[in-house]
Symmetry: D2
Subunit: 347 residues, 4 copies
């Protein structure tokens, strides 16, 4: 950590600041420059010290040069984290595809989609039972009933399941029915939810807040890891920018950046990341080329009658199946393996 | 609502879309243009219809021309909402100032600050007992104990109190001790929290998400209003932009925009909106000139030893008192009244 | 300047870097910390050195702690710059208002508007002869003819004139006819234009690029100052953010920030900064309260028949006159003076 | 085009608006809805009409549903544009790679880099003779001399050349020496430069402004096309967002979007798009997977002694050569061909 002061600071005040720093058990190292004086803080400082320094009179700026997260950092855990769930390994050699509808609507809908997801070669069924919606009058999901339907469809077709949990009180029931719990973009900094997920016993897919920096994203993961749950996947799902043609701007550089800063698996969500069906195929391929460990993709059998508007970004079943066939060829060029069934698929 | 299709759409598909729309009890009105065909939907449409249309084959775009929130809209409630709490009226003629520390630290700290806040002419004491923090290792607030300390200080000095509530399970206890509950920027779309606040019986100050549009902000307020709580204040606290010199970009145009779109009181937070002490004074004045109904401002007596880093944006007591004296002159030019005590203040 | 390296750097490489730095005539001061090593560069470094360091192997980051602009900085020139043009002083005690249409359309139009601008108490007539337009098929301004019309109107009514110049080759003709040359937001980093303005002999109003940081803005001003022209005004005109309800987000914190970092006068443009007529009045007042030295405001007599779409943000003449009467009362509370004529105005 | 009015508009005003529209030779089609009235404008409207409507009293919003650019649109020119230069086809089956230093520094430097660029299989040599720099004291390029050096190196090694032109007055000399002229991100809306390039007789690579929407980008291309030059390539080079870890956010969705909206070739710039060497390789591959027609990549032989700081994003020669070998395998999976030399390369 470095604190910067103007050269107009008095020696007396500088000494007070140094004394304040050293009270925290670290060393202060002063370099007087031409315009500014730099105080290097040497040793592992209490996070509170940075906060105090920032507001002390005479200090212009405090720059952290070590990271504020630890368990999530590549330095702490140099090897890739591989999360194994019922034989599926996420973060290892295999590319993992999660597919399914925005919302679970009925037993028949989720069963039919699960069949198609499996037949295409994906390993995980996605589907929302609780839906975060901008306005209170929109469809909010069918709730616990949807969890049951999805668990049955997953079991029948041999797929893992992932679903979104929106509030600490629903963590237990979601963990009972689903294999992976998902934190949505609006909840990335719902700290009580993160703390609760630290002890839920199930892997968590944490979506990046649509305006979160990488640093904030990894600090949010740190909440879950610090709670005792080592199985966190990071999901890039698009950020909010000035461009409105796409719903979000899918920040694919996040994939290699997060793989470098952290050991956690990185998943890409090209469906929410673009919000437009015709962009999902190219952005899925680009995600794999950028080094993603997996994909989460919306697919729907009957968008004309789906219950949320996210159908606009859902692939049709044949598009989904064709895309996965392309990934089978692409994955090996990107250090991954992926296999689709060699039998004709009935779509 | 308007749906737009390309002119290459077949008549048959166009008829299917029209039939689908009219099943929802509204009229579809088709205008064929040169490049595009426009379908106007006439009547109050179910929100689900917009979502379905957006994903139907052949439709390029759906544009809502009515608002998705109702109770929050100026059209629904043409007069300004004035929230009265123990004789203080927020949203009416009087400018309301809320002042205090980022975090409650001790009974002595909050008592001394409350004394200064009152002596300067403010009506509300702010202070955090639960603090949302980017990383899990930072100071997280002193919890319920802090609520008690603040309630006592408020009572002793004749001030209302406001504090942040971060999770549905703490709404009841916060409502027991504080006069106003605050929703922080990261929780603007914590929908379960908003629903719970709809029935909490206390006024709510809702901060704008740091990347939320006006429309999303008003929809978040709609969750609370739709839950039965009419006493919502909107708080502009700065948005995230590319500029990093200031912590956020305080979007003062939000003040007249929100006053025009909605009847709810609008409060400005120049402390978080800038993140720099030296900008708080000019941005407070600018907020009043832009039409704010109130301000929420951080003030601290001893930033060198405060427990969170937000001290960097806290005014010193004398700055706070001088600012309020300036507001006393400025408010009448902006359609408001505001009075500071006419006795010498002991700061 | 500080260069940061990982602690995994070899001593040998560290010595190479230090030697490279000291070749440039400055001192390198190494502090080894727990995770990172910090190299402080002491003395006035050649700007090229920062650029080289940034790309040297082993260096993770280079942080400039001195500013890259000099002539524009408050440190270089502690007193406010006051630009005097034919008796009007910009940047001093008097609030300066520039008003007029988006585009000059005809001698009658500009004459009538000039009369109203003067009658309301403003000191400068604005109007565009060359218009930057997103698409090639939009109205591009009437060119040199417009300059002549505006110069005549200004002279007749006793107003200074300001007009936009878009390309180096038109600087001379614009400087011949107008009192102040304006650089538009899209040209803030048109470096050849800035260089040419450094020698044009007329004061320049430089608009902030709609995505420019304060640092880039002041560096752009530095180009003009370094060319020998000390008379530069900085104009905040709104930045591009995710919010689309307003055309831009007027960043009023820029006003006190720029006044602190620089000695140059700061002007606010609430017309382009909001893009909506109904927001111009509150944002003008807020600009003055934030400390602006002047305003540039669009006004039009007949928006139904204006030639550019910017009329949507133009005030009507009576709104403009009433606003200036309000400023007469507001200015003295903000350290400025401003006077409107005491005779009845014929609008 | 659609104009929207409130239902509180009087019939009389509505009739005035309709009459105004129909004076422009198009039809107005009025749909009265529950809250709003929609006026559809049918026929090809003069661009000025949209601008006027936007500011007419009673009109809340004007929505263009046709595009404002024509020549750049896919509708106007359904087939892909393929630009052929001395046998290299850009926009066709072949993936095109442009490589080289940020700035031309000396004959030896550019000759050696050209040799390596050619040996790796790239077709175009990039290099800057005129450099746009944020501050006036940074290295600004070596000028015309650099053009000559690059032309010689290109000729000797059998490479096309591309260089940036910053101002209309240098278009002719750049066109004399280089095969492709590049417009930098800061000049995307330098309209005089675009107009001049419309008649320069050489293909143009137009970089997206770092805060430009797709629509603004295609309108900028339209300026060049409308001037008579059909040979325009669009280059995505990263946009400015809140994330500062990367220099820019490379918006790869721009590639399929631009290919869909337009027929022009699309090039990706992962060097400026990330600003970090270690991200250039994954983002190059991701660009190809997203459908790019070509890449422009920085490579330098001696970054410790380069003359601009952009070396931090330059690949070393062996990284560049290895990357191109990977592209040779990747391109065929993405509908492209690309071949590197089958002889051992001396790097």
């Amino acid at each position: 950590m470095i604190a910067i002061t103007s050269n107009t600071i008095s020696d007396e005040r500088l000494q007070e600041i140094v004394a304040h720093i050293e009270k925290h058990g670290v060393k202060a190292h002063v370099s007087r420059g031409t315009d500014r004086t730099v105080i290097g803080i040497i040793g592992k400082a209490d996070p509170k010290l940075a906060e105090q320094l920032r507001q002390m009179k005479g200090i212009e700026n405090v720059i952290k040069i070590s990271k504020s997260y630890k368990l999530a950092s590549r330095e702490f855990h140099p090897d890739d984290t591989v999360i194994e769930i019922k034989g599926v390994k996420i973060g290892g050699d295999e590319l993992v595809v999660m597919g399914g509808p925005c919302a679970v609507e009925s037993p028949e809908q989720i069963d039919e989609i699960a069949r198609l997801v499996k037949a295409s070669g994906a390993q995980v069924l996605r589907g929302g039972a609780f839906k975060p919606r901008t306005g209170p009058y929109s469809f909010q999901g069918i709730g616990v009933e949807g969890l049951v339907m999805m668990a049955e469809a997953g079991k029948k077709h041999g797929l893992l399941t992932i679903t979104e949990v929106m509030t600490p009180e629903y963590v237990d029931v979601c963990a009972e029915y689903a294999d992976i719990l998902q934190v949505g973009t609006r909840n990335m900094q719902n700290f009580d939810l993160l703390r609760k997920l630290g002890t839920c016993g199930k892997p968590v897919l944490l979506k990046r807040g649509f305006s979160a920096t990488y640093d904030e994203f990894l600090n949010a993961a740190e909440y879950i890891l610090a709670g005792g749950n080592p199985n966190v996947m990071l999901c890039e799902r698009g950020i909010r920018t000035f461009e409105t043609y796409t719903r979000n701007t899918l920040d694919l550089a996040a994939i290699p950046v997060l793989k470098q800063l952290s050991h956690l698996p990185v998943i890409s969500d090209p469906s929410h990341g673009t919000g437009r069906r015709e962009l999902v195929v190219p952005m899925t391929k680009a995600s794999v080329a950028a080094g993603a460990d997996g994909l989460i993709i919306e697919m729907h059998t009957d968008p004309d009658n789906s219950m949320t508007g996210d159908g606009v970004q859902s692939l049709f079943p044949d598009q989904f199946a064709n895309l996965l066939q392309d990934l089978e060829k692409l994955a090996p060029l990107c250090g991954k393996t992926f296999a689709t069934p060699k039998q004709p698929i009935n779509i």
